[in-house]
């Protein structure tokens, strides 16, 4: 790797992860406990965004496939919802254990199909996936204690679940684990750029002898997703993705009686006060925006720095950014991997051009060269950003941070809240009463104080305002899958 102005003149030896996840050339749909070809015979390719190599060919589910998947989930629901809760629990425990056993393979597959660094898929995504199943397994026979006064909570029925490409298997776990724990059955559609771990999960369901039809996986793009959420025999829709699509789903669901939870976009503020521990805060900013190439709905993409420490923060941020290693996602030393797809890279680049056109100053301390093939974006931040700039208002979903300054806590709060989104927020200060006062005034579903981007199966996650509604994780996440 080339040296930069701020990194020392020594090189890392490549440290590639070498486990072969054994990807088959062709992947079919998982319906009714079997892998079957799409009735429409249409397929699409899924590629490795770091190399643009085709990894496999997947079936694109059409209306007949979606019908079959929903019907299979409906049939399975009759039995699954009446399966003894402690027995249901044991299936989920089995799944959790099998995920742990196959963790390395799943991590490699996730990294190859999605572009995220192996360090993250191995240390964050997959462990959280296993924890999510293990945690929810235990809920199966405890639902009557979850909601005081509601002694006989009932499952909803068939859940249509549509998930994004940024945390493919983790989003699957967030959707499937609570649904199954509550006695529902599911039809899940992974994103078209990252279908492989969901199909590998289907294999795990088979291995664990999960009854046929309890989990169905249909692959495809937006059309398949639309067919699924608009299917008349679906009782609940859980969607994670963009606010625009979320609104379309909410409109299409109006008057149908379907239950809905939506986890949508964000433009989350990260606020640093002058009395914060600045070095810790810098690490938090890095974690907040460059984690997973910034493909994080709760990314701390708007940084508000108290005026007196702005020069110090910018200088330290530049230095720290320069040390991030961008490149081969399978290399264990890589910090920032590949952008998930060509279209997403084009979107990010469009925002970057717009940001500098509007007068923001680009900071991109990385001078290292990027691989020739694949989709890459050097992580960067922009200063001199005004609140009305596009890069300060719209979700970029890339490794791009907008830096702004403020003078008083009131100004920080009002500017942080001046957005249609309300997913997450971060606050950095060593003053206890101030941190909780600011936290209570921020419009967000998750607030990280002196930390950022922490996740746990027991911790409810979700947004306010146009970032959607409903929570995922912990006791509160069960609410979206039960009638109480």
């Amino acid at each position: 790797m080339n040296s930069t102005t701020s990194t020392p003149e020594w090189e890392y030896a490549p440290a590639p992860e070498r486990v072969d996840p054994g990807i088959e050339d062709r992947h079919r749909l998982f319906i009714g406990g079997r892998f079957i070809a799409s009735r429409g015979r249409k397929t699409f390719e899924t590629i490795n965004p770091a190399t643009e190599d085709v990894l496999s060919c997947c079936d694109e589910a059409n209306a007949a496939d979606v019908d079959a998947a929903v019907e299979s989930a409906r049939t399975a629901f009759r039995k699954w919802s009446r399966t003894k809760p402690k027995e249901r629990a044991k299936y989920l425990y089995r799944i959790a254990r099998r995920i742990q056993e196959r963790a390395r393979e799943l991590a490699v597959l996730e990294t190859m199909d999605g572009g995220k660094p192996i360090r993250e898929s191995r240390d964050v995504d997959i462990p959280l996936v296993a924890q999510h199943f293990f945690h929810h397994a235990g809920w199966c026979d405890k639902l009557q204690y979850a909601f005081p006064g509601a002694t006989e909570p009932k499952p909803l029925g068939v859940c249509a679940q549509v998930i994004p490409w940024n945390f493919p298997l983790l989003m699957l776990a967030w959707k499937i684990a609570p649904a199954l724990a509550c006695g529902n059955t599911v039809v899940l559609k992974p994103a078209e750029t990252t279908p492989l771990t969901a199909l590998r999960f289907a294999e795990i369901c088979e291995e664990c002898e999960l009854p046929a039809g309890v989990v169905n996986i249909v692959t495809g793009a937006g059309d398949t997703g639309r067919l699924l959420v608009e299917h008349p025999d679906v009782d609940k829709i859980a969607f994670t993705g963009s606010t625009d699509v979320g609104k379309r789903i909410a409109a299409a669901t109006a008057g149908t009686g379907k239950r809905l939870t939506l986890e949508l976009g964000g433009k989350s503020p990260n606020i640093i006060f002058a009395d914060a521990s600045i070095d810790q805060a810098i690490e938090g900013i890095v974690q907040g925006i460059w984690f997973n190439q910034g493909h994080v709905c709760c990314a701390g993409s708007r940084l508000f720095v108290q005026e007196s420490v702005l020069p110090e923060v910018i200088e330290k941020l530049e230095r720290r950014l320069g040390t991030l290693r961008v490149g081969d996602p399978l290399d264990k030393n890589t910090d920032v991997g590949a952008i998930n797809s060509g279209p997403q890279l084009a979107t990010i680049n469009r925002y970057l051009a717009e940001g500098t056109e509007e007068g923001a100053t680009m900071h991109r301390p990385h001078s290292s060269s990027l691989p020739e093939k694949g989709f890459w974006c050097q992580p960067c931040f922009l200063s001199d950003v005004q609140p009305n700039h596009v890069i300060a208002r719209e979700e970029i979903f890339g490794p791009v941070l907008a830096v702004m300054s403020f003078r008083t806590p009131e100004e920080a709060i009002s500017r942080a809240n001046d957005t249609r989104f309300g997913l997450a927020a971060g606050v950095w200060t060593d003053k206890g009463s101030k941190i909780f006062e600011v936290a209570s005034k921020l419009q967000a579903g998750v607030v990280w104080l002196n930390t950022y981007n922490r996740f746990d199966a027991t911790s409810p996650f979700g947004g306010v305002k146009e970032s959607g509604f409903g929570r995922e994780g912990g006791l509160h996440g069960l609410r979206g899958y039960l009638k109480i």
């Binding site: 005081p148 979320g246 109006a254 008057g255 979700g462 970032s467 509604f469 929570r471 006791l475 509160h476």
Partner: protein
């Protein structure tokens, strides 16, 4: 010569005041034998817009009030409603049912009021309890203090059912207020008079101006306005028809309003067990999860 009765001019209740509708329109409420009982305001889109602005300003004050204080104010509402039982009985009975041609009996009206007053008392008590019932401390991996607590969703539309005209309004309003939200209620269309008596009860209790607002008018005109208004955060209450529900949910999609509507036929307004549940408050709250490191 008999004394001529002084009739009341029925108005809207916005920001603690009683203005007429800006539209200058009224709707006639008919009693038995084609007798005019009242001219009520036919509220408009502009009335709703004005009300939302006022309610939005009232939100922070109500939200940040201590739960103990909110509880006392709700209890005060119950006290005042109890004291105005006679007036409420008259208001409830004044409009006959369209099908039967008869209004509720005095006993029925009294039962409805008693139930509504008890409901206010119940939710007065919930103010400082439901956050403990629905919140949590989350046992996460790692050295973090992680907890989840409910916060008010914000400015809530409350679509009251046509009947029971008084109890229906109170049933849907009380949990929303207990949760720290401010409300813009759409009164029963067939008999808005008890709702407007309730407005006077609010005005003479300690409810801060703008926390409870009540509009009267036609549902078919006003519901789409509630649905489309971009600064309303949630809609509660009860839909009379599937079409009403569809209209409200469709408009709400544009700004991700939380639509937590019940359906009139499904709600047993007299059932304390189901209606006094904290799970009637929770739909009008947003769970906020807060993380903080706790050691290394």
């Amino acid at each position: 010569m008999p004394r001529l009765e002084v009739l009341k001019t029925w108005k809207l209740f916005i920001g603690g005041a009683f203005p007429r509708t800006e539209s200058g329109r009224t709707m006639i409420l008919w009693g038995t034998e084609d007798r005019v009982v009242a001219h009520c305001c036919q509220g408009s889109r502009k009335d709703l817009r004005n009300t939302v602005e006022i309610a939005r300003k009232a939100l922070p004050g109500w939200w940040k009030r201590d739960a103990y204080n909110r509880g006392q104010i709700l209890y005060r509402l119950a006290e005042m409603a109890e004291g105005r039982t006679a007036e409420l009985v008259d208001a409830i009975r004044s409009i006959p049912d369209a099908d039967t041609g008869r209004g509720p009996t005095a006993a029925q009206a009294r039962k409805e009021i008693a139930c509504a007053v008890d409901r206010l008392v119940s939710f007065a008590g919930w103010c400082d309890k439901f956050p403990q019932v629905v919140g949590s401390r989350n046992p996460v991996n790692g050295p973090y203090h992680d907890f989840t607590m409910p916060e008010p969703t914000g400015v809530c539309g409350v679509i009251a059912p046509n009947a029971p005209s008084f109890l229906g309004l109170v049933t849907h309003l009380a949990p929303i207020l207990a949760g720290g939200n401010v409300a813009i209620a759409m009164a029963s269309e067939t008999n808005p008079l008890p709702a407007m008596v309730f407005a006077e009860i609010c005005a003479t209790s300690d409810v801060p101006g703008g926390v409870v607002n009540i509009l009267t008018g036609y549902r078919r005109e006003m519901l789409p306005e509630f649905a489309d208004h971009r600064d309303i955060d949630a809609i509660g209450g009860a839909a009379e028809t599937v079409e009403e529900r569809r209209i409200l949910e469709l408009g709400a999609a544009d700004n991700m309003k939380r639509v937590r509507l019940e359906t009139v036929g499904d709600v047993d307004y007299f059932d304390d067990d189901s209606r006094h549940s904290p799970w009637t408050i929770e739909p009008f709250t947003e769970m906020k999860t807060i993380w903080h490191p706790s050691g290394s």
